[in-house]
Symmetry: C2
Subunit: 198 residues, 2 copies
């Protein structure tokens, strides 16, 4: 008994399914964090994990399955879309400013950087929808316009991340942190205002 697996019911597996899986995943996480998704090859991950390349595809289907799994474990906007409605935009704005200042985790920054990889399009599509737009829509009450409001909020949040990637957003960061947070919160409030009121 090596006590690794949970499939103990049927015909017993062998050496270390879960252990191997975990080793691959840990290596992928580390390398993606350091170098980004596109820059790390399957063979490199396998070598780092001390494992055969083919096992990546065996256990995760394909390279992108590694990232899917990593994303599944980490929340992108953890704990923001819950709690008081009055302070929602303030919380989101603070989160956005933190990101502008590079205060998100190293992994998160690397993943932002890999967001446009063609291979990951479907992964990020599902991720943004299920971790941001959908929860926002539900949080806002699910009315007819909730989806549109959620989309506008998402646009601003994603756009800020992109601008930081493209030009560093030094001018934004040079604004006082509180001023910038208030401005973004105000923008988010306007995103959430009823349509036809401007």
């Amino acid at each position: 008994m090596d006590g690794t697996d949970g499939t103990g019911s049927g015909a017993g597996p062998a050496r270390g399914r879960e252990a191997t899986r975990a080793r691959i995943l840990a290596s992928a996480r580390e390398l993606f964090t350091e170098e980004g998704y596109g820059a790390v090859s399957s063979r490199k991950i396998a070598a780092h994990a001390g494992v055969n390349v083919a096992l990546i595809n065996r256990y995760f289907g394909a390279k992108r399955g590694l990232l899917t799994e990593i994303l599944r474990e980490d929340g992108v906007f953890p704990g923001l879309i819950e709690g008081e409605r009055d302070t929602l935009t303030r919380r989101l704005a603070e989160h956005a400013v933190s990101r502008l200042h590079g205060e998100s985790s190293a992994l998160q920054r690397a993943l932002d950087h890999s967001a446009g990889d063609p291979d990951l399009q479907a992964v990020y599509q599902g991720r943004i929808t299920s971790a941001l737009i959908d929860p926002l829509e539900a949080y806002l009450g699910g009315g007819t316009d909730s989806r549109a409001h959620a989309s506008l909020v998402t646009a601003l949040m994603l756009g800020l991340t992109r601008v930081r990637q493209v030009e560093g957003a030094t001018a934004l960061r040079a604004q006082g942190r509180e001023d910038l947070t208030r401005r973004i919160a105000a923008l988010l409030d306007l995103c959430l205002a009823d349509f036809g009121e401007d």
Copy 2:
């Protein structure tokens, strides 16, 4: 005389430098438009142009050079960042709504779709900076806050494009076109407001 080249001064070139270049570029443009940057290989472009693969690298340095050249020819936000200041945000908002409705050129849509390709990171970085942020900053007068204002505007514009890619933005498009345009214009106005006023 085959009348192709402009270098006629020195020792004469041979068959068709400019003609070949143009043929490659036209093929790349067509294929990128139809299938996107990442999905089209160098060999495919060469075959479509009836040309040897190596010529792509000879004339454009690398595959990404093709896209650089195409972007150089087409303006991304042509003619928006000029003219009356009072209607700037309205013009930008109308442009954004057009994009949301898929009314940009097929090429532009394909390029939006390829925006995150790792190979193109530097290309798009320079493009967005030189075709959007920099002109905006200059247009806004170049004051200390102009850059920050330009960054916010860019964030919103890029974010809207991304949301359309990710979830289709059907809820946004379902809003009345005029209402949506007004909302985005209002957001852009707020992006441009002085800091510390909220």
